[in-house]
């Protein structure tokens, strides 16, 4: 590619002014109106966002939104920042959904975020106290009316001692309100719909779970009315002491203290869950390399990921190259027909291919065992070794057409006179291929091989849809299997199984990130691709 920019002499002030006027004069009025309209939409959305963020008291995000909006307005109204006008939209998306998420992943990797640890400490305390509640014996019965507002159910309670009306929901503790009374029982309140009894009877499931806090202090317990008519006071068997920052079990007397691990822990090490989210430093990484029930699978998954990616690239490339050489003969008939047939697997959506192959390779009912092998029970996808072989076969099917197309293109790009010159010099076809065509071809194809490696390194769909990563390893604490690659392992640790461990999954992500970064930097150095950017 030739460099078409010549260094131009710096413009004089007059020239610059002239250029600006020409630029301004060349823009039709319609474009300016369109631009103003688009910016108005952006600003309107930003104002709405600021309003919402203000009500949620998210000051940092609010500041960022304001700053970005001001910047965007400046860029598009300024006459100067021309490159920025073209780059800003892409960069905003890139920063929010690529760079930020990458950094956020890094942060999560240093926390205990996951099942049992996904909220703040306050949330953990109130949810612990709420979950351990028992009805207070001999406590008075509170007459209750079920009310509703915008889909939220509330309890309108009459205090049996004072006769006052109290209103509360699951999120809002009981507060005194002005209500209409009927026979000493509060029955209606402004702004809320009183539900008729017939409706209340259909809501038993919601009412079972509706627990209205008595006051802001979770130790005061809560009021529940499972039948929608009479409420009873429930108090937790756990008691939170804010000063000592500990929870005491009033029945057994055990004290659970905050020892900095993100959960209240007793002296003997038992934890009360849910806990809350804390930064745990390098704990996740230490666990990944020292806990043998995690380290074992991590090592074998890493090795398999490399084996899979390397063999995938090599096998598809060699089959593709072979076919390209086979078809590189103009005397061959029906070439275009064959060519179309061979592109078909590439055109078929990849996720469907993996699912179809999974059906064909099913051990008991699949086409391959039932028809081709006459009813054999070959465990294509359930034997650790055979499952890996199956994955490589399916990936060959998926990947060879791409390599075939690329090699065809590259071979046709080699000038015929190179070939003729070699023949004149007495080289045989093998020598011509080995010494001349292959090196020329590799120059073209090498970057594609690298990106193909990167693609297969993270070829989640194939693994997940063909074997699901199975067969499972036995005796490991994370839900991974023999054919899982790193990326599918991350997905499983984070999103499947009984416990979701976002912290550990993110720590794995960081490890993958380091591996991929090293590989890409080294390979780019080798191919000098970055140097060629002009």
């Amino acid at each position: 590619m030739t460099e078409t920019v010549e260094p131009t002499a710096p413009q004089t002030t007059r020239q610059r002014r002239a250029a600006r006027i020409a630029e301004a004069a060349s823009v039709p009025i319609g474009w300016i109106l369109l631009k103003i309209l688009l910016l108005a939409v952006v600003d309107a959305v930003a104002v709405y966002a600021v309003f919402v963020l203000f009500t949620h008291a998210e000051w940092l995000i609010l500041a960022v939104v304001v700053a970005v909006t001001v910047l965007v307005n400046y860029i598009y109204f300024s006459r100067k920042r021309v490159p920025a006008k073209y780059l800003t939209p892409g960069i905003i998306f890139l920063v929010v959904f690529q760079v930020f998420t990458l950094l956020y992943t890094g942060y999560i990797g240093f926390t205990n975020y996951g099942t049992g640890h996904n909220g703040s400490k306050e949330q953990a305390v109130s949810s612990l106290l709420a979950s351990a509640q028992e009805r207070v014996e001999d406590s008075p019965t509170f007459p209750v009316t079920v009310v509703e507002q915008f889909g939220t159910y509330g309890l309108l309670v009459t205090d049996p001692d004072s006769g006052d009306a109290l209103l509360g929901t699951a999120d809002q503790p009981l507060q005194q309100v002005q209500a209409e009374f009927d026979g000493g029982k509060a029955v209606a309140v402004d702004g809320w719909t009183t539900l008729p009894l017939a409706t209340v009877f259909t809501l038993s499931e919601e009412l079972e779970n509706l627990s209205v806090p008595f006051s802001d202090d979770p130790n005061d317990g809560s009021l529940r009315a499972p039948d929608g008519q009479s409420g009873y006071l429930y108090v937790s068997t756990l008691e939170y002491d804010a000063d000592a920052d500990a929870i005491t079990d009033t029945q057994t007397g055990t004290v659970y203290a905050d020892i900095g691990t993100g959960a209240f822990t007793a002296d003997d090490g038992t934890e009360l869950l849910p806990g809350w989210q804390v930064t745990v430093g390098f704990d996740n990484f230490v666990r990944a390399v020292t806990d043998s029930s995690i380290r074992g699978p991590l090592i074998s998954v890493t090795i398999w990921t490399f084996v899979f990616a390397i063999i995938s690239v090599a096998s598809t490339f060699f089959l593709g190259l072979l076919l390209a050489l086979v078809f590189n003969n103009t005397r061959m008939r029906f070439r275009n027909g064959y060519r179309i047939i061979m592109i078909l697997p590439y055109a078929f959506p990849a996720f469907l291919s993996a699912l179809v192959w999974a059906g064909m390779m099913n051990e008991s009912f699949g086409f391959i065992n039932q028809v081709i092998f006459g009813g054999a029970d070959i465990p294509w996808l359930t034997d650790p070794t055979l499952a890996k072989v199956s994955i490589l076969i399916v990936n060959l099917w998926l990947g060879f057409p791409y390599m075939f197309l690329v090699c065809m293109g590259a071979l046709q790009g080699i000038p015929e006179d190179v070939n003729e010159a070699a023949v004149m010099d007495g080289a045989n076809p093998w020598q011509i291929f080995r010494r001349i065509k292959l090196p020329l071809l590799l120059v073209t194809v090498a970057p594609l091989l690298i990106s193909s490696f990167a693609f297969n390194f993270n070829n989640f769909n194939l693994i997940y849809m063909l074997t699901g990563g199975g067969p499972r390893f036995s005796d490991v604490s994370i839900p991974v299997g023999h054919t899982d690659i790193l990326i599918s392992m991350v997905y499983k640790v984070a999103f499947t199984g009984q416990t979701r461990d976002y912290g550990l999954a993110s720590a794995f992500t960081i490890l993958i990130f380091l591996v991929v970064a090293t590989i890409s930097i080294v390979s780019f150095r080798k191919t000098k691709a970055l140097e060629e950017l002009n």
Partner: protein
Amino acid sequence: MGTTDTRVRRRSAGAWFADTGWRHVVAIVVSIFALFPLLYVVSASLNPKGTLTGSNQLFSAIGIDSYVRILTDPQNPYVSWFGNTLLIASVTGAVTVFIGACAAYAFSRMRFAGRRVGLVTIVVVQMFPQLLAVVAIFLLMSTLGDWFPAIGLNTHTGLILVYLGGALGVNTYLMYGFFNTIPKELDEAARIDGAGHARIFFTIILRLVAPILAVVGLLSFIGTVNEYVIASVILIEPEQQTLVVGLTKLVANPRYADWSAFSAGAVMAAIPVMILFLFLQRYIVGGLTAGATKG
């Protein structure tokens, strides 16, 4: 195979085999490998029986029952999945092309501070696929959803926004290479005639680079159709999901799955994509190798 014309016949069979005959042998073997899963899925889709075992006798029974089943099953809203996929992939493809083309224009035609760093950053960042950060994306979207339900979890808009995070990346690099092959003299001539940068971009450059726009659009479309991880995490309700999430769930347990209904769904999903692909394949190959070859 059409190898029996007179010119070939005159030569000995051995010579013919050494020259082109063996090529046909290789081609036929590979063609069988390439075709047979596709024939299998078409056959299974035409089979009225639902099970995996029932689909094993190729083309033994022909009927469109399974097509009717997948289109009308209230448990699996295939039509919604199809519509969702088309919508999400089209919008993502179109906006990706536009954003990428804008960036490629800036990188190709303008000289500014940070240009080289910007190009290198794009190449390096696209090395790390978004699905690696899926945990963070999920948490980000769930927080965003608390503030702005319209772009949070379980919304198509939210998913499209996440996909657009990858709009600058390999696509821009591909387009950048192509933009550089358009002679600069064209811009300069237009500039002398009084055209501003916006008019040059929209009326001259975009028309000349149309082939690469088509390629990037199609690759982005197909990539979005195939994307499972982020879609499965963000789209929660069956009505909101895409084909890849829905169909994967449909055959999660092959033993009990309605295999021919799945196959019918697969055939209907694949045919439009395959036609589009075969139609544009020459451009695609050109585009793929153009990004790689320098010159």
